[in-house]
Structure formats: C-alpha cells, structure tokens
Symmetry: C2
Subunit: 92 residues, 2 copies
C-alpha cells in the first residue's frame, strides 16, 4: 500500500562557491548596524509531499528529483528529511 511522505529539502551552495546574494544581505545588515552577523549563505528550502511504496523508493525518487531539477550538482549540495504522513488507501 503506497505511503505518503513529507519531504523537507535543503539546497545550499557548495562551501567553495561564492554567494553574491549572501554577501549582499550581509552588507545590507551592516548598513542597518548589525555588525554581529557574518558568513551569510542563502539557499532554497523546499517542502513537498511524495507518495511511494517504501521510504527507500521515496528516497530514490527524491535523489533523482534533486539531481535533475531542484539542485545544480555543479555548484549546489542538497539534503532532505523524510517524514511518513499517512498510508494512502486506494491511491494510484
């Protein structure tokens, strides 16, 4: 019976990659007198629901989805948390 999972996906720039958006936010914060903030890094946070036969197959799908669409493997890393939400009765 298929199971529905909530996925929380974090896409971040690789540490070696410069983050212009992060640099811009940091200089903006300095102008607002927040001099106690550093190393600002900006990434994507994606939530979605995925239905699969097992946690393992949900993870495999998410790996492919992240590699093919949500993250740019050249400059970004991704990780995700998976939480079972409900067993789906009569789903396709």
């Amino acid at each position: 019976m298929p199971i529905k999972y909530q996925a929380k996906i974090f896409v971040t720039l690789r540490p070696s990659v410069l983050d212009p958006a992060g640099v811009a936010v940091q200089s903006g914060l300095k102008q607002m007198e927040y001099n106690n903030v550093e190393q600002v890094r900006i990434g994507k946070y994606i939530e979605l629901m995925i239905t699969a036969d097992s946690e393992n197959s949900a993870r495999q799908d998410l790996d492919k989805i992240c590699d093919q669409m949500l993250a740019n493997p050249v400059i970004e890393n991704y990780r995700f948390d998976l939480t079972e939400v409900e067993s789906v009765i009569g789903a396709v």
Copy 2:
C-alpha cells in the same frame, strides 16, 4: 563574554499564498513522469553566524533581521534554529 551562534533560518510563504514557483516545479516534475509528487512549496533557507551576549539577545536580533530584511511579513513566515558554536574571546 560574547557567544557565537549558528542560525538556520527558514522563510516560507504563508499557506494562504499561492506559490507560482512551486506550481512550476510540480508541473515540470509531472512532465518528467513524477506523478507521485504534490504540494510543492519553495522557500528560502539562510545560514549565518551571529555573535551576541546571550541566546535571548541573539534571538531578538534575528527576529528584527527577519522582519526587516529576510522575510516579507505580509506573505511570508519565518522560523529559525540557533546553535551555540563558541564563546568568542576578546570580540568587539
């Protein structure tokens, strides 16, 4: 003595707000035959380091930083996790 914290900030659209980027990703995934994915919501994930005298003052600064710069209070929610990284000796 000032303490350095790592902040992990999650900025997400309020549930009532339409997410065109999420809709676009979902339709893209459908074209790639991923029909088991729904409710895609895209937000921002921000990491930064903040130095403060206490966890409470770090939280207060982060609330102001999120309200004033990182999140649009009209359409977005934010939450953050704070982790103490190190006590900073001789910091400003």
